[in-house]
Subunit: 436 residues, 2 copies
């Protein structure tokens, strides 16, 4: 166990050994490798807040449902690539029970993680018209969505939501979208990394702008219902989880099961296409797909053509879980609530030691506690803060990569154990003594 | 149970109810729906030879390996998107043991079925250069690969291998590739639907042409080793499974586990990139991907960006199976040999009743018996034959959709049970009496 802080030279030498030139701007996977290296070489045990990995076991219903399906032999049989019928029904029911939005089961699909849903959604949205191929990302956001746009040959524009809250959002959207070449608006709610939550007014503004400019809204609900300021735990009863679906006609809801259901390993997400978008016809789609109908083009030219569906047994696992959730037998939000409790405690510890929250308000309201939070240290650039924290055995990523113009780091609470809080408090107090 | 043949009017009425205008050219999924419909309405039980579905249970090692991994909790944890290290090693070993070709484990990936490997392979190959974006498909082939090319915005050309065997293949390739805008050659060996198997000379010709024109060879080995004319059952000992890898430098091997391992349900295939292609750098890749190195662009901009890897538990299932196979504890080729036995018997029955094989020779050699075979009835177009067979309770698909200029149907043997042979013989004898 080394003396803290780690010496800069030593840190840089280990970074160089991992192929990292500048620690503060290293990719998340490079950082992870560096942390592993430091732990192995020095014996220092890190407080790991860099990765957005779920920290809970998968629900029993999902695991047992999948095992049972395997025992019954589904592994030998091609799954329907559009999803097994019962699963499509339960996805629709899940959305209905928690958002009060109705989407027909044929328009609900299991996908290879939420990522495949977003990839295909952008592809389809941007191929409806020859001259509308740009994506608008509302940042800060998940960097991989930009990687997806790039791999599809699409261009994109971004702005930071925090600078355009409530009614300011309307004029900002109008000024951006006036260019006329946009295909889709993409954002997450709650957002990664800032944990900003859009208000009903903001969702209405987005829906109206999308309608006016004939855009598809792609809403990433990776943290569905995890704005714990409101209690969304009762399926079928208000309050319902906010979504643009209440305010838009052409939208895709993309619901990851990685965090809310702790099913990251099985790569099975949910994609729901609004009924009106599903049946929309666009002649230009036929240049790329076997159908001009949005949902058919997505299913046959996307889900089928890329991989012929997703794991048969995982579909049964998710089915079993949703059956429990939709019937009130399993409260997924109660389970993941622990992330919010951790975030609240961690924010207090960071603030008590000279740190400030970077994103801290949704308009008038204090930001929700959730899976991520963002902190800065006065006078320190985000990338320098990554390096400085690392010298104290704490890993996090700089906000730069997420489309944020603000200085600071994203901290993920998922891997924090009860025994870690005291260690963090001690290390941050030490940090403050050193950096003043 | 109706009198056979089914009346034309009745058949057409049921087809119309399924949204099918012309039975002979209906897609495979539409046909399937029609057959289900006829069975339900008439009580007639079909001999189903339309779908290429494996007809065997998954090997125990794969199922138990996956169940064990689920019990150990891998469902909650993101898999490495490039594949778990042990699996990469076993994929490389499998290729080594059965083909005598060495590919480094980092260049071996699990994919969302073989289809994702082919999709990404074409994308990457066609993005190496701005002006080389056309795919050459050697037909007859799997229609979905063309769907993939289309969804990637790529153009393609095809020709029928049966018309250009052995040395004729060299001049044909030369005349086609002279256009200079090709990115890749795609073919399956053995092929679906014709079950043509390329000779060593032909593979050498393909490898040399690809080298001369700087193309990527994408070799679909969905039926790896299933040319049962040669005994490839001993891992690590000759004879080795033929592959272009013996004759080319820039190639992708795409090995589906659906048929050879009866794992169609789990959507886990294998992709191996030749070491020299893996490290090839192309500046143009950076327009689409975060790296100009072929394998890194494919991994980060493809496997990661589209779905962040494939099912964690399925990776462990495939790993357990490959460990058994590579150590000689499980003989996958012995298991799937039953398909060849069925094909031989079925060919005899069809020929005894006036049918002819459409594709029947690899040069001097009789075609191998395998998963598919192709038959025609004298004077009858392929699409008419589909309809006529259907009236006798036998379903198959027309060759037209597969890039074949020949008239006939593809029959898949996988769903045929021992009790079916007599029924088929009887129905085909009846067929011959009616059609003469």
């Amino acid at each position: 166990m080394p003396n803290l802080p780690l010496e800069m030279e030593r840190l840089h030498r280990m970074a160089a050994d991992c192929g990292i030139v500048r620690i503060g701007t290293a990719g998340i996977r490079q950082l992870r490798r560096l942390v592993d290296r430091i732990e192995a070489e020095t014996g220092l045990q890190f407080i790991r807040m860099e990765m957005g990995i779920p920290g809970l076991p998968s629900p029993d219903a999902a695991v047992q449902g999948e095992i049972q399906a395997l025992q019954q032999g589904v592994g030998a049989v091609y799954p329907p690539f559009e999803g097994i019928a019962a699963l499509k029904t339960e996805i629709a029911r899940f959305i209905q029970r928690y958002t009060d939005v109705t989407i027909a089961p044929p328009n609900c699909f299991p996908t290879l993680g939420a990522m495949q849903g977003c990839y295909l959604g952008m592809a389809l949205a941007a191929r409806r018209y020859a001259d509308k191929t740009r994506i608008l990302f509302i940042d800060p956001g998940f960097p991989v969505n930009k990687l997806q746009a790039r791999s599809l040959g699409l261009t994109y524009t971004t702005f930071d939501l925090a600078d355009y809250r409530e009614n300011k959002l309307a004029s900002k959207l109008e000024s951006v979208l006036a260019a006329g070449d946009y295909a889709a608006i993409v954002y997450a709610n709650p957002s990664n990394p800032a944990w900003l939550c859009l208000s009903a007014t903001e969702l209405e503004i987005i829906g109206a702008a999308a309608h006016r400019h004939d855009l598809v809204v792609i809403e990433d609900l990776a943290y569905f219902g995890m704005d714990f300021r409101t209690d969304y735990r009762q399926p079928g009863k208000p309050p319902f989880v906010p979504t643009v679906a209440h305010h838009a006609d052409h939208y895709l809801l993309i619901i990851s099961s990685s965090k809310i259901f702790s099913l990251a390993g099985q790569r099975i997400g949910m994609l729901a296409i609004s009924d009106s978008l599903a049946r929309a016809r666009h002649a230009h789609l036929k240049r790329f797909y076997p159908s001009d109908v949005f949902s058919e083009a997505l299913a046959y030219g996307g889900l089928y053509a890329i991989g012929a569906g997703v794991s048969h047994s995982a579909q049964f696992g998710l089915l079993a879980l949703l059956q429990n959730i939709n019937r009130g037998r399993y409260d997924f939000l109660e389970t993941v609530r622990i992330y919010a409790q951790r975030a609240a405690r961690l924010k207090t510890i960071f603030r008590a030691n000279g740190f400030q929250l970077v994103y801290d308000r949704d308009g008038e309201r204090r930001l929700a506690d959730g899976f991520y939070f963002t902190v800065a240290y006065p006078g320190m650039a985000g990338s320098d803060l990554v390096t400085a924290l690392m010298r104290f055995g704490i890993s996090a990523i700089a906000l730069d990569a997420t489309g944020s113009a603000r200085q600071g780091v994203r901290a993920c609470v998922s891997q924090i154990a009860e025994s870690d809080f005291d260690i963090i408090a001690e290390r941050l107090a030490h940090f403050q003594r050193v950096f003043g």
